[in-house]
Symmetry: C2
Subunit: 175 residues, 2 copies
Amino acid sequence: MEQEGLDALTMRALARRLGVAPNALYSHVATKTALVDDVLDDVLAAVRAPDSDRRDWQGGLRLMMASTHAVLLEHPDLVPLYLARQGARGPNAQRLGEIMLALLARGGLTGARAREAQRALIVHAIGSAAFASGAREAVGPPRAELVRTFERGLGWLLAGIAATAGVEGSRQRPH
Amino acid sequence: MEQEGLDALTMRALARRLGVAPNALYSHVATKTALVDDVLDDVLAAVRAPDSDRRDWQGGLRLMMASTHAVLLEHPDLVPLYLARQGARGPNAQRLGEIMLALLARGGLTGARAREAQRALIVHAIGSAAFASGAREAVGPPRAELVRTFERGLGWLLAGIAATAGVEGSRQRPH
DNA sequence: ACCTGAACACCGTTCAAGT
DNA sequence: ACCTGAACACCGTTCAAGT
């Protein structure tokens, strides 16, 4: 149904590959945007999430974001589309978002603070993937260096989030 | 010459606005990609950088990234283009990149470590702007919340970078 | 050096019509 | 429910030609 879809993600190219007239697609999808939304969410099905009984919330988030980054790197042409849509809206995106919030809650972060942390992590994962996807052979740093940049940034963000959670926690207990 | 350029950044629309035939543009620019590269770098001219004699390297970086984020938010339609090109390549981008490296060096970060920090900061600024630019009225969080997310993430990254610099520093001194 | 006319190979989408 | 033919209003780019 969806296939790999290199950069040939055009209505007409898709119709060509399906051996069908271009406008035939409009019997199945309302608009190209809707189709792309579906594809984007489908890709996210491959993102790995920790077992629900996991104690290590930071490790859980690290696993999820690293997996997201890796999955996005497998679909370089789609990456630019994620940021503009704020990381997709489909069922997979929603499910992953809720797991993230659950992990953050286990770390003591809730409400606006949790959503900020969640968004910062997502921006970092997709942004890093977009940055790396744009890298062509000659120009720019090698892929491995960009992956290391992602991992280090992820560590900084998680440390900062944990520190914030700590402050929140010690501020709440006295009440 | 370049103008605001909403989302009407197509060769033919630009030619139309200039009252000229579409192909006339190819006497001035080799390709659309080249034109876009020029526009992207021009926009970066508005990014503010600290005075060269500044002592506070973290504050300097914070100023630069916040200014970058603000400037990008003024050109929402261009934002998606920056990440794929890894933040433009023109003279302005290069100048800003060097100032960032100088500030990082003042904080004790050099070489691969400095480039990683630099890239993480750029990814966060552009990624946050892309995230915010995609936000439409009804759907998604309000703009102010996204700006706060950007600022908090920036703080986390700078704290992490400073900690790394500290470790590097205390490791180097014994030598 | 800078422009035009005409053309090529594309887009997304709609409309009326067929099964 | 699913497809087609034909069309509309677009793209980026090239080529030959004009001043």
